[in-house]
């Protein structure tokens, strides 16, 4: 379909800037986008009759990665090798 109505995963890499231009980047637009993203994730992995560990384990893994990225500058000092 047209570019403005496609979801993020259906946008090709070259069209990404054009797609971003069509999105509303106000606070309300961002908030709406975040809400939609969370609700689609929630309804796919958590809000089911017989879910498994996958729903929250993915969230925890993402949290681990994010916190590692945030504290990378500090962890750089604890490297073992001198030359990389």
């Amino acid at each position: 379909g047209p570019l403005a109505e496609r979801r993020l995963l259906a946008v090709r890499l070259g069209e990404l800037p054009a797609w971003l231009a069509t999105r509303q980047l106000s606070a309300q637009g961002l908030l709406g986008g975040a809400r939609k993203a969370w609700s689609s994730y929630y309804n796919k992995y958590i809000n089911v009759k017989r879910g498994g560990p996958a729903g929250i384990s993915m969230l925890l893994a993402g949290y681990c990665l994010l916190s590692y990225a945030w504290s990378y500058q500090r962890l750089k000092c604890h490297r073992w090798r001198k030359y990389h």
């Binding site: 809400r35 796919k44 809000n47 490297r79 073992w80």
Partner: protein, 228 residues
Amino acid sequence: VLHVTRPLHTTQQRLAPLPPLPEKGGEVRHGLIPEEFFQFLYPKTGVTGPYMLGTGLLLYLLSKEIYVINHETVAAACILSVIIYGIKKYGADVAAFADKLNEEKMAKALAVKTEAIKGLETAIEEEKKEQWRVEGRKYLFDAKRNNIAMLLETNYRERLLTVYNEVKKRLDYQVAMQNLKRQKEQDYMIQWVEKNVIQSITPQQQKESIAKCILDLKALSKTAQAAV
């Protein structure tokens, strides 16, 4: 973390209740990577593609020390092994328990529904019976009408009897009055006649009558003695 329920009634009007929850969630391999990723890489790299990608990425991160091995790595490894062991061993039991809770909830709701339906059906039966009973109201009203006619008749006859008795009493009174009057007149007349007769008897007549009576008695006594 936002908590948002599914959007309700955003599309056309739905004629059925809310659709039920899906049975299983999206497919996730090893509990961490969604199946879509494997499917995405399958046409280009086959089955082992994502695993090679993962191994290469891991080695790159380790060798370039983008991921630094420190005490936290050991802690993470211990925690993860314990978690995985726990999930593998007790996962099925916990899932069965949760399913049982869900089943109980559903059974309760279903029981409420069946109870309501049964109650309504009995109500329908009773209503039909009442409608059948209504047809008998003709007989009921006939009986009532008969009763009322009986009452009226009885009342009328009672009053008729009362009237008759009252009239008879008045007539009896008049008759008694007339009888009394006649009787009084008779008595008075007899008395008056007697008085006058007694007055008219002179002493001379009295002597004569007494002498005659004595003579009669003597004659009678003679004949009587003869008869004995």
